[in-house]
């Protein structure tokens, strides 16, 4: 009962927030609704009993990734509305709708699950973080280390890409325009 209420509440909220994310013209609205939708998705993980995944979703996605987006938005002009020219929006909506319909049909098709057996079944008597740790550090140790190396490479790449010529302001042109306007007004 409560599971159903929570599921439908979270799904309606998530779909609405992600629609705002995708359809909004303002980057700031889009980013905030994306962060809120990720919080709702962590709610799904808690319903599903994946406690550790929900906490990781909250910390990594809502905490780190969205904070990174928020920092990056300081470089861009976020308050301005995004101007996009969409030549044929009807085609895009038709294609997207057809893909959505196809995905729903694919996912709701009966799954032949009799042959599926759990390779790493959940350990009885262990809580979710304990069993996640047991599986992650035994069966998935090498992918874990590879993911760590990948994160290190990504961090170095991000620092090198973003840190080049950091002393020059990105909004120099806007500043010069603004100073020109101010000086013209002073002349008047």
């Amino acid at each position: 009962m409560y599971e159903q209420i929570a599921f439908y509440l979270f799904s309606v909220l998530t779909i609405g927030l992600f629609l705002v994310t995708v359809l909004s013209k303002n980057i700031l609205y889009s980013m905030t609704s994306l962060a809120a939708g990720m919080v709702m998705i962590s709610g799904f993980f808690f319903i599903l009993g994946a406690d550790f995944l929900g906490v990781v979703q909250l910390i990594v996605y809502v905490g780190a990734v969205m904070a990174l987006y928020a920092f990056a938005m300081m470089f861009f002009d976020a308050s301005r509305d995004v101007k996009e020219k969409n030549a044929n929006g009807a085609w895009v909506f038709l294609l997207g709708g057809m893909i959505a319909l196809m995905l729903v049909i694919v996912f709701s098709a009966p799954i032949y699950s009799e042959n599926i057996q759990a390779i790493y079944p959940s350990i009885p008597g262990a809580t979710n973080p304990q069993s996640v740790g047991l599986v992650l550090f035994t069966k998935y140790l090498i992918p874990f280390e590879v993911a760590a190396v990948m994160l290190l490479v990504a961090m170095i790449a991000g620092i090198i890409l973003a840190g080049k010529k950091m002393d020059q302001s990105l909004t120099t042109e806007d500043d010069s325009v603004a100073t020109e306007v101010i000086s013209q007004e002073d002349e008047k």
């Binding site: 994310t21 889009s30 994946a50 996605y61 996009e84 709701s108 599926i116 961090m155």
Partner: protein, 100 residues
């Protein structure tokens, strides 16, 4: 009772929303947001299958998807900043400099 199909349909809907965003938007930052939506939809599907089959592999894949998304954001935002310095905008049409 909420079954696996409910979660899979929800995941498919969210993935379609992200896909519409990827196809429709022309701003690169908005494309990144749509990509995040798609990754989250995949995460929901993985967690749901993991729960309903009593298998932890789905949660492991979801963790690695989170790691991939984090590194993607780090590299992608660096590239976006370089692009913004070069072009002054994040428009996707501005990238077609090699157009013949």
């Amino acid at each position: 009772m909420i079954g696996l199909n409910h979660y899979l349909i929800l995941s498919g809907l969210l993935f379609a929303i992200g896909l519409v965003g990827v196809v429709r938007r022309k701003n690169l930052l908005m494309l990144f947001f749509a990509t995040e939506v798609m990754l989250n939809a995949a995460n929901i599907a993985f967690a749901a299958t993991s729960h309903y089959y009593g298998d932890l592999t789905g949660q492991m894949f979801a963790f690695f998807i989170v790691a991939v998304a984090a590194s993607e954001v780090a590299v992608g935002l660096g590239l976006l900043i370089v692009l913004y310095k070069k072009h002054g905008s994040l428009d996707l049409d501005g990238l077609s400099t090699m157009k013949g």
